[in-house]
Symmetry: C2
Subunit: 219 residues, 2 copies
DNA sequence: CATAAGATTATGCACGCGTATAACAAAGAG
DNA sequence: CTCTTTGTTATACGCGTGCATAATCTTATG
């Protein structure tokens, strides 16, 4: 009985890398980092294990790429929400906050994926820099949206407000994702808007017509 | 050359279990979950690998015990700070918040340890319940401290405030631990006190004589 | 001091991991 | 239509893992 060699198609480098990264992310989200073995990743991506080393020098390199992709995606999903919304500063800030506290950003898989890389961030200098850049990028968007409120506050206060709002959103994101049934429908979004408003001295809940919107893009 | 059998001492069940749990926690904190192999844990605890199975039916059982111990410890370190402080509600709340945002609670190892268990929390019903209990316990302490402020607010608002303050503290705790150099000395504590105060409409920074205290117990 | 009990060590196994390398085949070039 | 390139598969190796079991040493008890 001859073992027939498996047939395959050649794909572009970008496609293959994206497939492998996506497979890695889905596996980590589902079963934690230990589920993302090279064999499992390859199977999920529809290739054989050896191919991973053709596109990434080592598994760690694939890991880093997956983390970078995750962090970039989370930030960009927030800013996507700014596209389809009015020009009022309060409205824009509210849309950004709400988008960060709703699926697909608010998602247990995303939290697990994020948490799964946490320990690698220490010790791996390159990953740490990826994390820091992503964190700063998100916070900067937030700070710009806050600054646009034009309440005439000094820059140093602005920085503190951005850090605090970021932390608040992060905390709600984690617990809201992991313990969804511990909160009422929409409670996390409402709480986020109300609390960010309280931190900044504005009323965001009044500027949130988009709260009952059809869902956003999942890409 | 005969290999001499290693000499050992018998220890109480509590001691051995505590040692193994502590070894597990330290290893995860240092190198992530994958560093906590049965052999590494045993070596760190000063025993041989087989002994683990004498005290825990499976490695997962040890893992659960370690997580439970971690969560309990974080909450209790916060409430410890309440012991040595005055009776003013603001002062007590400020002490609790500050303790949660300072070492040894604010610590990269602790965050990594916490994050390392995140994915196990999903899927493992028992771990999930441990997590939920710990989260609720911490939040309840917070809510009681907030209620003691006696601002005469309805219970449902109280609940929301506790969730938001908890999230804020969590978020500051994570980023403050992982990116310590991204913040100025004491900035996280000050920001936490200021922001929690803003959420509740009180001034906590005015009630924080203990900010420059000698360090707390590390137990 | 003898004895029993069980805490602890020692050894081995089967399996899955990441990596290396060689054989193969798909696709473009001439 | 053949040749060359290289994306892709296939196979194997060495190592570390969690777990099982047997041997042995410590300690409590009488």
């Amino acid at each position: 009985m001859e073992t027939a060699r498996r047939t395959y198609r050649r794909e572009s480098q970008e496609t293959r890398r994206a497939d492998l990264i996506s497979a890695t992310q889905r596996l980590v989200a589902e079963g934690g980092p230990e589920a993302a073995t090279v064999r499992a990743i390859a199977a999920r991506a529809g290739v054989t294990a050896g191919l991973i080393r053709h596109y990434f020098q080592t598994k760690d390199e694939l890991t880093r790429a997956a983390y970078r992709s995750l962090m970039d995606g989370m930030t960009s999903k927030g800013s996507d929400a700014l596209e389809s919304v009015g020009a009022s500063p309060e409205e824009r800030l509210a849309a950004f906050v709400a988008a960060s506290l709703r699926p697909p950003v608010l998602d247990a898989g995303a939290v697990v994926l994020w948490a799964g890389y946490m320990h690698k961030v220490r010790g791996d200098a390159e990953l740490l820099s990826v994390h820091e850049q992503a964190y700063t990028a998100y916070r900067d968007i937030l700070q710009r949206l806050i600054a646009a409120l034009k309440r005439d506050v000094p820059d140093t206060q602005l920085r503190g407000e951005a850090i605090a709002c970021n932390a608040l959103i992060d905390g709600l994101w984690v617990e809201g994702s992991i313990l969804p049934h511990a909160f009422n429908e929409g409670e996390i979004v409402t709480l986020g808007l109300h609390s960010v408003g309280a931190l900044l001295g504005v009323d965001l809940l009044a500027h949130t017509a988009m709260l009952t919107d059809p869902r956003k893009t999942l890409a």
